[in-house]
């Protein structure tokens, strides 16, 4: 009984879909627009997360010690910095490594090579490259370097302040995100109205059939289900169409973003492929719920039982 009914309900739903072809097309288009804005927000979220992460990756303080600094002062500083939870990584460059690096860099330059030979011993001191976990931890690390245990052994601290950049990225994306949310809200509202109207038209077109169904004893569920199913079908088509737009767009965007991120892939497609079921599953569930609610409202208003 249930299976027979499901099959027939499905058939009626499909018939509705084709008979109101243009109405279906308009509804699908609106649902698609809504989904597209939602996906733009998803992409935006991901890209800005990556952008902030990329900047944060580069946030580092170079700490140069005097050539005369005792090794214990350097060791102390390293140990202390590593004990701070906000510090992600401390890289130690010894005096010898600094000299080698310097020589490599100026291998062709006779003047420099000569003057180095004149000095005789290694003029470089050891140095540290400290990376923070987040840009906001930056101040704390600078403060930590004021520790009297090794403060006086530090010749120079070199850092670039990325805090402003990150703040600006966050600020801009926050604004875009709000705009995107507002836009998808508007689209969603229009989509609900259109679904409502589609169902209303559909009920009107089928009023004779519905009337006869009821006279001959069709259950209310049987009368309603085709319309609900039709809307689920429209949601599904809208989702598939959105996917057909989103994936090629991602493929086209990926290298462009890569360019801004210094040539490396940002894994946008990867992200969508790994989380596709969640991202699009959620969108489908949300969309189906909304279309069903607005279908229900239309039926409550226009389908007298």
């Amino acid at each position: 009984m249930f299976l027979i009914s499901s099959y027939r309900v499905g058939k009626f739903a499909l018939q509705n879909f084709w008979r109101n072809f243009w109405l279906s097309v308009i509804t699908i288009t609106m649902l698609m627009l809504t989904l597209l804005t939602v996906n733009i927000i998803v992409v935006l979220n991901y890209v800005t997360d990556r952008a902030i992460q990329a900047v944060e990756d580069r946030v580092e303080v170079s700490v140069y010690f005097y050539a005369t600094s005792p090794q214990t002062a350097v060791d102390n500083a390293v140990a202390y910095l590593r004990s701070i939870s906000q510090v992600r990584n401390v890289q130690v460059i010894t005096a010898d490594e600094a000299l080698t690096q310097f020589k490599d860099r100026h291998a062709g330059d006779e003047v420099i090579t000569k003057s180095l030979e004149e000095i005789g011993n290694n003029p470089f001191g050891p140095s540290l490259v400290v990376k923070a976990k987040q840009v906001s931890d930056f101040d704390l690390i600078l403060e930590a370097l004021e520790n009297p245990q090794f403060r006086d052994q530090i010749r120079e601290k070199d850092f670039s302040n990325y805090q402003d950049i990150v703040a600006r990225i966050k600020d801009t994306t926050q604004r875009i995100r709000m705009f995107g949310l507002a836009l998808s809200g508007v689209f969603l509202f229009i989509a609900i109205l259109i679904v409502f109207n589609t169902v209303r038209m559909s009920l009107f077109i089928h009023r004779e059939e519905i009337g006869i169904m009821k006279l001959v004893g069709a259950s209310n569920g049987f009368v309603r289900s085709p319309f609900l199913l039709e809307m689920i079908l429209l949601s599904l088509v809208a989702l598939v169409a959105t996917l057909a737009i989103v994936y090629p767009s991602l493929a086209a965007l990926e290298p462009k973003f890569g360019y801004y991120f210094g040539g490396e892939t940002i894994g946008l497609i990867d992200y969508f492929e790994k989380n596709g079921w969640e991202i699009f599953g959620l969108q489908f569930v949300g969309l189906a719920a909304l279309t069903l609610i607005s279908t229900g409202l239309a039926m409550r208003k226009y389908l007298k039982v």
Partner: protein, 226 residues
């Protein structure tokens, strides 16, 4: 079979459909409801298959009190009461066969049973040779016979026909009447709403006359008066 007690139907704001109707119809009876236009005949019919609910009074059908029948119970009632109308109410885009099968499909009848029942009812109304026609290709009498066939698919205990001959000429009307009599002989209770004098006089069965929403006469083997 059918029992109405002090039934009134007032359409909002205060139009009287029927007023203080009390009547009892026994199983297997053939009852005609007659009266001029606007006297509440259709309202009475609609109360029987729960298209309208009474404002006052109680209605029982086959021991089932349908006075305040719930929405989800209405389909069950409709499967026990066949209904036929003046305008046939056939789907123009479906064939004769499909129109009848439709009634079974929407109530979840298995396909096998549909294949058995449809030819059966088509045979009763004598239309076995026109199964693939569309309603537009049928005469009024034939269309009404399709509608009657459809009303029989659930083997109803009661058949309510609201002016089934209203759109037909005398010859076709006579055929429909014979068909209703035949169905009644099978044991189905028939309630026939009509204002066709000839038909009522030919029937020689119980006649209930309405006027202004009230029963003004109820006689066994009656004739159409007024």
């Amino acid at each position: 079979m059918i029992s109405l007690k002090h039934v009134s139907k007032i359409y909002p704001p205060n139009v009287v459909g029927v007023e203080a109707i009390s009547l009892h119809i026994k199983p297997g009876e053939f009852v005609s409801i007659v009266g001029q236009s606007g006297t509440g005949k259709s309202t009475l019919a609609k109360l029987l298959f729960a298209e309208e609910r009474p404002t006052r009074g109680t209605i029982e059908i086959g021991g089932w009190d349908i006075t305040n029948i719930r929405d989800h119970e209405v389909p069950l009632l409709r499967r026990q009461i066949g209904v036929v109308f003046q305008d046939f109410k056939l789907l123009q885009k479906k064939t004769v066969y499909e129109n009848i099968a439709f009634a079974l499909q929407v109530s979840g009848t298995p396909a096998k049973r549909i294949r058995d029942v449809v030819p059966l009812v088509l045979n009763i109304v004598n239309l076995s040779d026109k199964t693939d026609r569309y309603p537009g290709q049928l005469s009024g009498g034939e269309a009404q016979r399709v509608a009657i066939a459809r009303s029989l698919v659930h083997q109803p205990k009661v058949l309510v026909a609201d002016e089934p001959t209203g759109n037909l000429d005398t010859l076709n009307a006579g055929e429909i009447l014979d068909l209703l009599k035949k169905i009644n002989e099978f044991g189905t209770t028939v309630v026939l709403v009509t204002h066709d004098r000839d038909i009522v006089n030919r029937l020689k069965r119980r006649v209930i006359t309405l006027d202004g929403g009230k029963i003004v006469s109820d006689v066994e083997e009656g004739r159409y008066r007024l």
